[in-house]
């Protein structure tokens, strides 16, 4: 032991506190609806080498995605080239990013002329340009449809954003005001962290502080390795598939993972996964890593401090040109379903080794539904909704109905909020009874929601999953029921939605959606 244990713990707590303060700053003043209702923003503190030190309590998907972004920014702008007050940012999915609306922003923490830490935030902006408002076009077939790409940039100096870059961004996106506002929230969060970390360094000394942060990382690594060593060695395969890519609707997109546990390491090999696809469901490595990080955190236990050391025992093999490591210019905006699929697959493989510790598959779906149109004054509006299925049954208990799982943890839209914001009526919000897979501990049920358009036309984009492949049961439990959705036109025609759809709804049309149930656990009694 190098450092006194109380001081180490005090430092760990303080770093978490700073990350929480950053998160609070972003959430409280955000105007992007997806951040405000769904908490789609995250904050972290990094060592100068890009190792994550502390993370706010927020979406696992975003927390994971910030890590590669900071690595990439560091490659472009080595710490030696940084000056106090520098603001670095990027969103390019083909250069360390995840999807275009997620902008990563980083500021260095200087003490006595040295960078002692980095403060980073990632934030889902309301619009970054591209084919459709919100910049997540389901019908995109190349990255150029998806909005404005920002390669790793020095976005500002001395704490001030470069006006010229801001103007370039402003003319390329639909809601420049909101972007600037939310960008300020990201910067304010990083600046707060800079001040706090400087105070911490002043108290403990910069060098001892850095040394203690490194020790915390090393300890987390050692603990994670110990937890992996306690797992059975072996190799397990799990195969699953996306319904389709959203563009070519009659073709499932297979995913395959081989999980190897050997001694104190875990390797995830995605060889055998589909080549990259035409539609926007490709996931760039940042998103894949977020899923892998979630899985390793979830299976190695909560008693291990959360930092970059936890991820060192993990190796991931992503075949080039595949669904999970696409080559430009493949479209990548709709990667959430893919990341959920691979997270579930990794857990599904490990469940074969540890059926008592890992639940059956969750519903594997977080439907993203957006309605857009123009209000009476001609102003464009978008309302979005993320609708969940259930959690899987486990050795401990039945699954939970209608709840966000694994890499997601986003709130739904209250019907009242949606009706206030858009000319729709919500007719039904219900548990889809009986949809959870049977078992000793049944899977959680999916959700039913039904909307009527009061004043068309509205553009509907619908991104479902598990319409053709059920969430599987485990340890003798049964599969969950698959998702279903349809549009009921005002004249009575019924149009089935085959997992993904982009269409126009007219006055009186209805959208009915039912998400998949989760897998059950154990042989039913």
């Amino acid at each position: 032991m190098k450092h006194d244990p109380a001081t180490l713990e005090i430092i760990r707590r303080r770093l978490e506190g700073i990350a929480e303060e950053m998160q609070g700053i972003m959430l409280r003043s955000a105007v992007s609806p997806i951040v405000r209702e769904a908490n789609d923003a995250s904050a972290s503190i990094f060592l100068p080498d890009g190792t994550v030190m502390a993370q706010s309590v927020s979406l696992p998907l975003l927390l994971g995605c910030l890590l590669p972004a900071v690595q990439r920014l560091l490659k472009q702008f080595p710490v030696e080239s940084m000056a106090p007050g520098d603001i670095f940012a990027m969103n390019d999915p083909y250069d360390g990013g995840t999807h275009i609306p997620d902008l990563s922003l980083m500021m260095p923490v200087f003490v006595d002329g040295q960078v002692v830490a980095l403060a980073g935030t990632i934030f889902h902006h309301q619009d970054m340009g591209g084919l459709t408002p919100g910049s997540v076009p389901t019908n995109a077939t190349e990255i150029f449809h998806e909005g404005l790409r920002l390669p790793p940039l020095r976005l500002g100096r001395d704490g001030v954003v470069d006006e010229q870059i801001l103007r370039i961004i402003g003319v390329n996106i639909r809601t420049a005001d909101a972007f600037e506002w939310d960008l300020n929230a990201q910067i304010a969060a990083c600046r707060a962290a800079v001040t706090r970390l400087q105070e911490l360094a002043a108290r403990h000394g910069a060098a001892p502080l850095t040394a203690m942060m490194r020790e915390l990382v090393d300890r987390a690594e050692a603990a994670t390795r110990a937890a992996i060593r306690a797992m059975p060695d072996g190799r397990w395969v799990y195969e699953d598939a996306l319904d389709n890519d959203g563009v070519v609707l009659d073709q499932p997109v297979p995913l395959r993972v081989t999980v190897t546990v050997r001694d104190d390491t875990i390797t995830l090999d995605f060889t055998g996964t589909s080549p990259q696809v035409k539609g926007p469901v490709n996931a760039v490595p940042a998103g894949v890593m977020a899923g892998a990080y979630f899985a390793i955190r979830a299976v190695t236990g909560h008693d291990i401090p959360n930092n970059g050391g936890c991820f060192r025992p993990l190796a991931v093999i992503l075949p080039e040109g595949s669904l999970l490591n696409p080559r430009a210019p493949a479209a990548v905006n709709a990667r959430t379903g893919t990341v959920k699929l691979l997270t579930n697959a990794v857990l599904g493989a490990l469940a074969q080794a540890m059926p008592d510790r890992i639940p059956a598959a969750n519903s594997g779906v977080s439907v993203v539904m957006a309605l857009s149109g123009r209000d009476d004054n001609g102003a464009a509006f978008v309302v979005t909704e993320a609708l969940q299925g259930g959690s899987g049954g486990s050795a401990e208990r039945p699954g939970v109905n209608c709840v966000s799982t694994d890499i997601g943890n986003t709130m739904n839209q209250p019907a009242e909020a949606m009706e206030m914001d858009a000319p729709v009526r919500v007719h039904r919000l219900a548990v889809r009874r009986g949809s959870g897979g049977p078992g000793l501990h049944p899977g959680g049920c999916g959700t039913i929601r039904e909307y009527e358009v009061l004043k068309g036309p509205l553009t509907l984009t619908f991104r479902g999953e598990r319409h053709f492949h059920p969430a599987r049961g485990a340890a003798g439990g049964g599969d969950g029921r698959m998702s279903e959705a349809h549009v009921l036109r005002a004249d009575g025609r019924r149009e089935e939605i085959r997992s993904k759809l982009s269409t126009v709804l007219q006055t009186g049309d209805r959208l009915v959606m039912a998400t998949a149930g989760a897998g059950g656990w154990g042989t039913p009694e």
Binding site: G17, E20, S29, R297, D303, S391, C402, M411, P414, E416
Partner: protein, 669 residues
């Protein structure tokens, strides 16, 4: 002699403060009686009135309502809701509390009202308040009979957009009254008139479920009062930190939840005021948690998004940050070999190892005993004899040996970690909100606050500490200081541009009249009216509170300008953009007339010295009894100041001065 009596029920002890007309004040702690909490109230009252005397005011704070929700012991309740939304209560907002837990349980009160007791009826109000389709009255009647057949004792009614137009809910209540006379009913439009159906339904369901329970409970208290010859009306503390009559409390029992932290914060504000401070931070340290409250302008800050356990309960309550750090917090070694303290607590049963009740895990209190900060023979006024041998064994086995430290080093490390956790909570309430805590005095409360307060203050650069005369009964003290208070609110969720000034004036007048009527029912007239709004920019989810000058002709403009400025103050940036009115609120209060309190002056501890370890330094520390400190005399630390309900550690580098209402500690190197 006439007395004012405040009795506050806590998890372990029921605390009483009794002020005589001449200002002399007594405090009393009796064990709580969880099975029938009113019993402890009876015991305390009997002891206070043993030598005769009458009661001029009787004020009561209770955790009965909160506990009934947490423990699932509220009444069997049914829910009538808009057809199609029967499951809204079960589905909630679809989020889970623990990110990385793969096998979590339900996150919504699905067990409180299972599916068969959630019944939908046709009839819709639209977002503009207009009726979309008529209420199916026959369906309401059928639902009532269905629920009665299932044995419900209360019915909650929650319809979409009732916070804008309550007509359907009010009609449904009439039907319930016709079909089931006397059955408890709660309407969402009255319990929590604000947007978001899940949160509003949650509050309404709990309100209904509490009505039968709290009715019985309050009747028991009234019977006890009558039996002791007390004829003044019972007044109860509500979540906002004010008092209301038992009649109003029966009508809206959800308002009795979360009242404990508010009472303590009111007590803290009053002690700060007596000490000459209009602002400060209090930290109330109990067995399992520490509550941090911020006092500004002489009153505790409020929040409107309270939670009970996993569930949102939108009642206004003191903005208190509770962290899992208390005397019972367990010290342990994590998987990475790091020292952790909490969040698990040994609680009151079995309690810390030194309780000798079978607890074997080392806790913060065990560390305090090992360090010599707590006298094991006088803990809780000597009611519990602590076992230093068991404290030492637990710390040695679980902490000192694995970490290769001495016993005292390990105990010091436990204290350092828990102090940092508490300091972190103070930081989140101040620094993280743009407030510099160095300008604020810090106040310890609860049995354990005084053991940690100086270390917390030093961590944050705070240089003054105000120790109340009776830190262990701050909530009961707060009861005497709290105003009689009624409030009313109305939800809007509309752009101010769509709300004519006349309509807003009328709404404010209506809410004010409702408060005045409630005041009159408690036999009082308000001496203070406060009108405020919750507002946001269009598109934002978080609201800020804006005070509206009373009597203004242009409340809308006042909200708009006030909000734009409030946003600048809160977030450092603002803009002239359309503002959304989310809620209007009116509060009326009549201030407490309680005069100064003089606390008892009998000392039970002999003065002397004790070997103790403070900040890792072994010292021979003077032990002083609080009651023997002469007012105005300034002394230098180190010292340990003992009193019946708590212990205050004054480290080297601090000086202390006794005052009639408090003890002031100041940095004095």
């Amino acid at each position: 002699m006439m007395y004012e009596i405040g009795i506050d029920i806590g998890g372990t002890f029921t605390d009483a403060v009794c002020r005589a007309a001449d200002g002399s004040t007594r405090l009393l702690k009796v064990p709580s009686t969880p099975r029938d909490p009113s019993q402890a109230v009876g015991v305390a009252l009997a002891r206070l009135l043993a030598d005769g005397g009458g009661v001029a005011r009787f004020l009561h704070g209770t955790t009965v309502a909160t506990n009934a929700i947490l423990e699932g012991t509220a009444a069997k309740v049914g829910l009538i809701t808009t057809a199609g939304f029967e499951d809204a209560l079960e589905i909630g907002r679809m989020v889970r509390a623990a990110n990385y837990d793969l096998s979590f349980g339900p996150q919504t009160p699905v067990d409180v009202v299972p599916a068969e007791r959630r019944l939908g009826v046709a009839g819709r109000i639209g977002p503009d308040g207009a009726e979309v389709s008529a209420l199916d009255e026959a369906a309401v009647a059928r639902a009532v009979h269905d629920l009665l057949a299932q044995g419900v004792q209360a019915i909650a009614i929650s319809f979409l957009f009732a916070f804008i137009n309550p007509a359907h809910e009010q009609r449904a209540r009439e039907i319930v009254a016709r079909e089931a006379p006397g059955l408890a009913v709660s309407l969402s439009s009255e319990v929590d008139p604000a947007i978001r159906e899940y949160e509003r339904t949650c509050a309404t369901v709990f309100d209904a479920a509490l009505k039968p329970v709290m009715n019985v409970y309050l009747s028991r208290i009234e019977t006890i009062l009558a039996g002791q010859g007390v004829s003044v009306p019972l007044q109860v503390m509500h979540s906002r930190g004010g008092l209301l009559g038992a009649g109003a409390a029966r009508g809206r029992p959800i308002r009795l939840t979360l009242s404990g932290p508010s009472a303590a914060a009111i007590g803290a504000a009053s002690v700060f005021r007596d000490a000459g401070f209009e602002q400060g931070v209090s930290i109330d340290v109990g067995g399992t948690s520490a509550d941090v409250a911020l006092i500004e302008n002489g009153t505790p800050a409020l929040r409107h998004d309270g939670r009970i356990g996993k569930y949102p309960v939108r009642v206004p309550t003191a903005d208190v940050l509770a962290v899992a750090a208390g005397g019972g917090s367990i010290a342990w070694i994590d998987a990475a070999g790091g020292l952790r303290v909490g969040p698990r607590s040994a609680g009151a049963d079995p309690g810390p190892a030194c309780y000798g009740r079978g607890g074997v895990l080392p806790t913060v209190l065990d560390a305090s005993v090992v360090l010599g900060l707590v006298d094991p023979t006088r803990f809780a006024n000597g009611e519990l004899q602590l076992r230093p041998d068991l404290a030492e064994a637990a710390i040695r086995r679980d902490i000192a040996e694995p970490l290769g430290m001495s016993l005292v080093e390990a105990a010091t490390a436990i204290h350092r970690v828990i102090n940092a956790t508490m300091a972190e909570a103070v930081r989140q309430m101040t620094v993280a909100r743009g407030i510099d805590p160095r300008d604020f005095p810090l106040m310890p409360a609860g049995g354990g606050g005084g053991l940690h307060v100086a270390a917390i203050a030093e961590d944050l650069g705070m240089t003054r500490i105000v120790v109340p005369a009776a830190p262990g009964v701050l909530a009961a003290t707060g009861l005497l200081e709290a105003p009689l208070e009624h409030d009313a609110s109305r939800g809007f969720f509309r752009s101010l541009t769509q709300l004519p000034e006349a309509a807003l004036r009328e709404a404010i007048a209506g809410l004010t009249a409702r408060c005045a009527a409630a005041m009159a029912a408690d036999g009082a007239e308000a001496d203070e009216t406060e009108v405020s709004a919750a507002a946001s920019f269009m598109g934002q989810g978080h609201t800020l509170d804006v005070v509206i000058p009373t009597g203004t002709d242009t409340p809308g403009e006042a909200i708009r300008l006030g909000f734009i400025e409030a946003h600048r103050l809160a977030y450092g940036h603002t803009r002239d953009a359309p503002v959304r009115l989310v809620e209007l609120r009116v509060v009326q209060r009549k201030r407490s007339t309680t005069g100064a309190m003089r606390w008892p002056a009998h000392a039970t501890t002999p003065d002397g010295t004790r070997a103790a370890t403070i900040y890792g330094q072994a010292l021979d520390v003077p032990i002083l009894h609080r009651a023997r400190l002469a007012p105005g005399e300034r002394r230098q630390g180190p010292a340990i100041i003992e009193q019946a309900d708590s212990t205050t550690v004054v480290p080297p580098g601090w000086a202390f001065t006794a005052h009639p209402t408090h003890l002031l500690l100041e940095v004095s190197p």
